[in-house]
Subunit: 306 residues, 2 copies
Amino acid sequence: MDWQAEIRTAAHRTEGYLVKTPAMVSHGFGFSFPIELKFEQMQHTGSFKPRGAFNTLLSEGAPEAGVVAASGGNHGAAVAFAAKKLGHNARIYVPEVAGSAKISLIEALGADLQVVPGKYADAMVQAQAWEAETGARQVHAYDTIATVAGQGSLANEWQDQGLTADTLFIAVGGGGLIAGAAAWFGGNKKIIAVEPTTSCALHTALEQGGPVDVEVSGVAVNALGAKRIGQICFDLAVKTGIQSVLVSNDAILKAQNLLWLAHRQLVEPSGAAALAALTSGAYVPEPGEKVAVLVCGANVDPDPLH
Amino acid sequence: MDWQAEIRTAAHRTEGYLVKTPAMVSHGFGFSFPIELKFEQMQHTGSFKPRGAFNTLLSEGAPEAGVVAASGGNHGAAVAFAAKKLGHNARIYVPEVAGSAKISLIEALGADLQVVPGKYADAMVQAQAWEAETGARQVHAYDTIATVAGQGSLANEWQDQGLTADTLFIAVGGGGLIAGAAAWFGGNKKIIAVEPTTSCALHTALEQGGPVDVEVSGVAVNALGAKRIGQICFDLAVKTGIQSVLVSNDAILKAQNLLWLAHRQLVEPSGAAALAALTSGAYVPEPGEKVAVLVCGANVDPDPLH
């Protein structure tokens, strides 16, 4: 499969629908080396998710029954946003743990919102039932080619913005975002998958030789709490040599605080998880190793302005 | 006076001490036209003020008695930060209206903080007394060549980042930031001075033919609440044809909210004031007129992470 071509097509297809989010070099975290940052939380709906959502809907369209998605919250908001923009009805299933910031965001976007007990996997069961019942187009959060190629447009864009790093740090839930980056760079950069110790589906899959169910909890569970890593992500992780790093919930909250202190970026815990790999010392770069961190979401609960 | 040379020198002098803050094109505010944004609130200490503070201290040095500044809060934090970096003691006078976010920031930077009753002008009286008493180096918030040239480095940087706008919107308190921009662009771009209706020292000065004292209040008073516009700013405003636009406090708060909704940027009211000129309809661009908005501060009270 020619991932680079797929991603270039996704980037062209979604042009005009997405924010080209800014990149920056930071010396703000007390290290002797700079960190390249990309602020993808400035994307529409506050996370990277519209990339995959727009790519899916623009390439596949939607039937009369509209679209359906299951989500910890960010993907649901993105699908609601894209569906509204493209004139489709959207039914979004989220678990209670999505939290009020994400739930009110999806409501404000006019979607038919269904809050279900449990976690992301429980929302997925219901979304699949709705798909089967109505024929609505399922927009998967991470494990389809269209979604991964859409998220991959971020890596393409970052490279065009002059990314120089050898090593990229990307937070992982179901793995769509990191799969997109691995697909784009194809092993030409070292990619570090950062997961919370309390929800580490990729880490476990790499240890056990394939995707398996894991328990999920913690401060970033409404974004990184996928029970099982996507197969596309797992395959790309093995093929391109993605390395896994785990961070504690405390380390994530500390990194969230540091992003505010250093650059006044208020992000959700998942949005700070990748940075936590460095600021916690879980990963120590080699001398001269150039690093970059993707900041990927800012739907914080409580929403600071409501 | 060769302002461009002065600003280029400031930019070189301060290199390595400042964040090169990102610029972006936004379609996120519901207009038919794009808005170029620069996110200067990502600067050290959460506002543009370190540019002037570093340029002043690096060019003029400081005596044994250290440095002193009066500030609504942001300039004080910047002087405290720069002084600490350069090994000087700093005594910072702020009015009570500075608010807890700015006061705790200055304290955390290790400065000798003096909170005085009243507003910015009251803090200035005490800072001048301290300067006279001890010989400390006064770092003025807006009305010296070194400060204006330092802030002007922002305009230089933005141009280097590919700024294409015809018209720039910049919030005005004492006028150091807009003076720097006017000094850099020298009439080659239309510059709109945005002030709250409740603190509009430049607007009043332009009406009355020179700087005069005004009353100050409102949601942005701890950043834009200068009682009298700087003479340097006033002279540059007249010379380069800066235009004045006023915005209400409600319009400022709405723009603050829109920055969060569109791009997850949590800024202080003054940081959203320039955007308010557009989002409130106070300024309506001509067809084809390209606009840019400077986002300049994010020391919000209450601090979202404390």
